[in-house]
C-alpha cells in the first residue's frame, strides 16, 4: 500500500532527523539559567503543581520587579520528572548543559539521592529545602547539597516536641504510629523517631503504605486496633488525602494526627473539607507578605501567573516560592563576592549558598518579612535554620496553632555526624578540611 509505506518512511525520517537536531540555544550571555524539575503529571501532581507554580512565579517576579539580580536576568526551563528517578536523571542530564553552573531542586528525595552522586562531578548545586538526605546538613561531607530551612529529622523532632508539650512533658508509655510513604522520603524520619523513642520511652509503630498510597484500609484498621495516642503522617500526593479519608472512615480523631510539611497542604484537605477539621501539620512559612502582593500585582496582574491566583499564599505554593528565594539569594550572595552583574558558575553559586546570611532586615527589604525566618548557612551547617510551627485545618483554611519550635540540636547533631561519616566511608568521599571551608 503506497500510503502506508509513505507514512512509515515519513515517520522514520522525522525520527532520525529530530535526534540529530541540535539542542535549543542555551541561556543568553547576561542571563543566569535556572532549571526547574517539577512534576505536573502523575500521582503526585496535585502537590507538585502548586510548588512549581510558586517557584516559577518568584523567578518571574525577580525579572519583573527587580530586572533580575543586579541586572542579570533569570532564564528558566521546566522538565517534568513525574516523581520518577530515571526521568529526574534524564531531565538533569538534559538541562545541565545549558549553563556552566546550575542550582537543581528536584522536589523528590529519590531523585536527590541519584543527583547527589552526579552533581558534585558536574559542579551543580542541589538545594533541597525541606526534603532530601537529612545528613546532608553536614556540609563537610556533602559539599554540594543544601537541605535548607529544615530536614526531615528537624521536622520530626519539632512534631515530637509539640506532642511532648501537649502531654505535659512526659511521653512514657504512649503509643505513636508513623504512617509513611514506602519510599526513601517516607523512611527518612524513622531514625530520629526511634532515637527519641529510646530517650522518651514511647512506643513507635511503623506502618508503611505502598506507593502511591491509594489503598490504606488495612493500615487504618491496624491503627484502630492499636489505638495509638498520636499518628504521624509522612505521605505525599494522593496518599495524604487518602489517609485523612480513611481516618474519617475508621473514626480516628483528626486532632491527634500530625503531618509533616509536605502532608499538610491545601490539596490534601480541600476535598475532605469539614471532616478533616482538627488535622495538624508542620508549616515553616507565612502566608502573607509584601512579596506575595508584588507577585499578585506584577506577575498575575500582567497575565504572567503560572497558576490560578487563588493559589498564591497557599502552603505548597509558599514552599516552592521560598525554594526559589533560596536559589536567587545564593546567586545574589555569590555575585557579592565574585562580581555583581556577572553570570555565576557552579562553584560560585555553591559558595553563595554556603555563605547565606539572611537576617530580618534583608528579608524585609526583599518583601519577605513574615514569610521566612532568618537563616544563615555555613560550611558545617548547610541547613541554615530549623524552626517550624504547627497549623491546623479548621474546615475552610489552615490556622496557626502554636509558637515557633526549633529542632533540638542535642539529639540531631550527633545523628547527622554519624550518618555523614557513614556516607563518606561508603562512597569514598573525603570530608573537607577547614581550609577548604574558607574558600
Amino acid at each position: 500500500m503506497k500510503l502506508k509505506s509513505f507514512l512509515l518512511a515519513a515517520a522514520a525520517g522525522t525520527t532520525l532527523l529530530s535526534t540529530l537536531l541540535p539542542l535549543p540555544a542555551s541561556a543568553q550571555a547576561k542571563e543566569q539559567f535556572f532549571p526547574v524539575l517539577p512534576y505536573r503529571t502523575g500521582a503526585y501532581a496535585p502537590n507538585g503543581v502548586p510548588w512549581a507554580n510558586g517557584y516559577v512565579d518568584y523567578l518571574k517576579l525577580i525579572n519583573a520587579r527587580d530586572g533580575g539580580v543586579n541586572g542579570v536576568k533569570i532564564a528558566f526551563e521546566e522538565c517534568d520528572t513525574g516523581y520518577s528517578t530515571d526521568r529526574g536523571v534524564e531531565c538533569y542530564e538534559r538541562l545541565k548543559g545549558k549553563a556552566s553552573g546550575e542550582i537543581f531542586q528536584p522536589l523528590s528525595t529519590g531523585i536527590t539521592f541519584a543527583l547527589t552522586t552526579k552533581a558534585p562531578a558536574d559542579k551543580n548545586v542541589l538545594i533541597t529545602s525541606g526534603y532530601g538526605l537529612s545528613e546532608s546538613s553536614d556540609g563537610t561531607v556533602f559539599k554540594w547539597n543544601f537541605p535548607m530551612l529544615g530536614t526531615y529529622w528537624s521536622g520530626a523532632d519539632i512534631i515530637m516536641q509539640h506532642i511532648t508539650k501537649k502531654e505535659g512533658g512526659n511521653l512514657k508509655g504512649k503509643k505513636i504510629a508513623l504512617v509513611y510513604h514506602d519510599s526513601p522520603y517516607g523512611k527518612e524520619p524513622i531514625p530520629l523517631l526511634q532515637e527519641r523513642a529510646k530517650l522518651q520511652g514511647y512506643e513507635l509503630t511503623l506502618l508503611p503504605v505502598a506507593a502511591p498510597g491509594v489503598e490504606q484500609k488495612a493500615t487504618w484498621l491496624q491503627i484502630r486496633q492499636l489505638r495509638p495516642d498520636y499518628v504521624l503522617l509522612w505521605g505525599w500526593g494522593v496518599m495524604n488525602s487518602a489517609s485523612i479519608k480513611e481516618a474519617v472512615a475508621t473514626g480516628y480523631p483528626r486532632e491527634r494526627m500530625y503531618g509533616v510539611w509536605w502532608s499538610a497542604g491545601e490539596p490534601d484537605v480541600k476535598d475532605v473539607g469539614d471532616a478533616a477539621k482538627g488535622y495538624n501539620g508542620l508549616v515553616v512559612f507565612g502566608t502573607e507578605g509584601k512579596a506575595l502582593d508584588d507577585i499578585r500585582k506584577l506577575v498575575h496582574g500582567k497575565g504572567q501567573g503560572t497558576g490560578p491566583i487563588e493559589e498564591v499564599g497557599q502552603t505548597l505554593y509558599m514552599r516552592g516560592m521560598t525554594s526559589a528565594v533560596l536559589a536567587v539569594e545564593s546567586m545574589r550572595r555569590a555575585q557579592e563576592r565574585f562580581g555583581k552583574g556577572k553570570v555565576m558558575t557552579g562553584e560560585q553559586l555553591r559558595w553563595g549558598a554556603e555563605n547565606l546570611s539572611l537576617d530580618d532586615k534583608k528579608l524585609a527589604a526583599l518583601g519577605l518579612a513574615g514569610i521566612m525566618k532568618p537563616l544563615s548557612t555555613s560550611c558545617s551547617d548547610h541547613e541554615g535554620s530549623r524552626s517550624a510551627r504547627i497549623h491546623t485545618w479548621d474546615g475552610k483554611a489552615w490556622k496557626l496553632t502554636s509558637d515557633w519550635y526549633t529542632a533540638d540540636e542535642a539529639i540531631i547533631k550527633p545523628m547527622v555526624k554519624a550518618a555523614a561519616k557513614k556516607y563518606a566511608a561508603d562512597k569514598n568521599v573525603t570530608p573537607r578540611t577547614p581550609d577548604d571551608c574558607q574558600s
Binding site: 502506508k4 512509515l8 522525522t14 525520527t15 529530530s18 535526534t19 537536531l21 539542542l23 517539577p38 505536573r40 503529571t41 501532581a45 503543581v49 521546566e78 522538565c79 517534568d80 513525574g82 520518577s84 528517578t85 530515571d86 536523571v89 534524564e90 542530564e93 538534559r94 548543559g97 528525595t109 529519590g110 539521592f113 541519584a114 547527589t116 552522586t117 552526579k118 538526605l133 514506602d182 519510599s183 526513601p184 523512611k187 527518612e188 524513622i190 531514625p191 508503611p208 505502598a210 506507593a211 550518618a419 561508603d426 562512597k427 569514598n428
Partner: protein, 358 residues
C-alpha cells in the same frame, strides 16, 4: 543487483551454518558494528550518549532477554522489571560486600542471582498458561519491589532503601566518561546478541519454539516442557539481570526499587512487540523505537505548538506524549503486527530483487 548471493558457494557445513551466510550481510554487520563502536564515539555529543545511546544499549540487552522468553518460548512475562532489580541489587551487594570485586564479575554474578529468582518464578509456568501466566508473573514484580524496600540486608542496611555505586572500572580502565560507558554497554550488547542468536538457532532454541507453537504436541514428540520452559526463564532472566545491573550501575548511578517498577516491565514488552516477537533483530529495533520516541516527542511538541502559537506547558507535553505514544503503538500494531523486524525482512526481500520489481 547488490544483494544477490549468486557465486557464493559454501563448501563446508561450518560455512553453511554461519549466522550471516551472505557476504553482503557480513559486510553490512561489520560496518554497523564499526560505526557503533568506533564511529559514534567520535561524533556523538555527551547528551546523545547519556540520554539516548546508553539507555538504548542497555534496554536492547533487556529486550533481547525478554524476547527469548516471550518471543521464542511463548511465555508472557510481566515481571521483567523485577528481574532487572534483582540483577542490579545483587551486583550491588557483591560490589559492596566483597572488596575488590571486578565490575564485570559483579554484573555476571548479578545475572546469576536473577537466574535463580527467574527460575523460581518460572515454575508456575509449568501449570499456568497464557494470560493467566502474564498476570501471575506480576506477583514476581510486586514481591521483588517490596523485598528491596523492606529487607534491609539487601540494601546494605541503607536507612532509605536507596543505594548508589561509586567509580566503575574494567581491567583498570576507569568507566566514568559517557564514551567509556557506551563502549562497555555496546560490548556487552554485542556479546549477548551473539550468544542469544546462537542459542535460538541451536536445539534448545528449537525446543523453545516448539513449546511456543504448541506445547502439547511438543511434549508428545519428546521435548520435556519442564526443561524447555525453565531454561527459557533461566537464560532470559540472566540476560535481563545483567541488563538491570548495567542500568543501575552505568546509567542511573543511584537507584531505588521504584526505578524497576511495572512501568519498566510494560516498556520492555512494548519494545519486543513493536520490534518483533521471536526475532533478535527485532529487540534492537524495538529498543531504539521506544528509547527515541519520548525524546522526539519532547523536542518536537513544543516546537509544533509554537507553530500554532500555543504555549505548551510541560504537563500538556507529558499528556500529549502519552497520547501519541498510545496512538503510535496501535498504529504499528495495525500496520505491521509482526513488528519492525518483519518490515526489515520484507525490505531485504525486496532488496534481493532490486532494481527489478519481480
Amino acid at each position: 543487483m547488490l544483494y544477490r548471493e549468486n557465486g557464493q558457494f559454501k563448501t563446508s557445513y561450518r560455512a553453511d551454518q554461519q549466522i550471516f551466510p551472505i557476504l553482503q550481510d557480513r559486510i553490512a554487520i561489520l560496518a554497523i558494528v564499526a560505526v557503533a563502536v568506533v564511529g559514534v564515539p567520535l561524533f556523538a555529543s555527551d547528551y546523545l550518549f547519556r540520554a539516548i545511546l546508553i539507555p538504548f544499549a542497555i534496554l536492547a540487552i533487556a529486550a533481547l532477554g525478554l524476547n527469548i522468553l516471550v518471543g521464542y518460548c511463548g511465555q508472557i512475562s510481566l515481571g521483567t522489571g523485577a528481574f532487572m532489580a534483582v540483577g542490579a541489587y545483587a551486583a550491588y551487594n557483591f560490589t559492596v560486600r566483597i572488596p575488590g570485586m571486578p565490575l564485570l564479575a559483579a554484573l555476571l554474578l548479578g545475572g546469576v542471582c536473577a537466574t535463580a529468582v527467574g527460575v523460581a518464578f518460572g515454575i508456575p509456568s509449568l501449570r499456568i498458561r497464557g494470560l493467566y501466566l502474564a498476570v501471575a508473573t506480576l506477583a514476581a514484580q510486586f514481591f521483588v519491589e517490596w523485598a528491596f524496600l523492606r529487607i534491609k540486608w539487601l540494601t546494605n542496611d541503607s536507612t532509605s532503601g536507596s543505594v548508589a555505586v561509586g567509580s566503575l572500572s574494567v581491567l583498570g580502565v576507569p568507566i566514568d566518561s559517557p564514551v567509556a560507558k557506551y563502549v562497555l554497554c555496546m560490548a556487552i550488547l554485542i556479546v549477548f546478541a551473539l550468544l542469544a542468536k546462537n542459542l535460538v538457532r541451536s536445539h534448545i532454541g528449537r525446543e523453545w519454539m516448539a513449546i511456543r507453537d504448541m506445547d502439547v504436541a511438543a511434549a508428545v514428540i519428546g521435548i520435556r516442557p519442564v526443561y524447555a520452559k525453565l531454561t527459557a526463564f533461566a537464560v532470559s532472566s540472566f540476560i535481563v539481570g545483567v541488563a538491570g545491573a548495567l542500568w543501575a550501575f552505568v546509567h542511573l548511578g543511584s537507584w531505588e526499587p521504584a526505578a524497576f517498577g511495572i512501568e519498566r516491565s510494560f516498556q520492555l514488552l512494548f519494545m519486543i512487540i513493536i520490534g518483533g516477537l521471536g526475532s533478535i533483530m527485532g529487540s534492537f529495533f524495538g529498543a531504539a523505537f521506544i528509547t527515541i520516541l519520548p525524546i522526539v516527542l519532547n523536542r518536537t511538541l513544543p516546537a509544533f505548538g509554537d507553530v500554532f502559537g500555543l504555549h505548551v506547558d510541560t504537563a500538556l507535553v507529558s499528556h500529549f506524549e502519552s497520547m501519541i505514544f498510545g496512538v503510535l503503538i496501535v498504529f504499528f500494531l495495525i500496520v505491521e503486527p509482526h513488528g519492525l523486524a518483519r518490515l526489515w525482512s520484507t525490505a531485504k526481500e525486496k532488496l534481493r530483487l532490486w532494481p527489478f520489481p519481480h
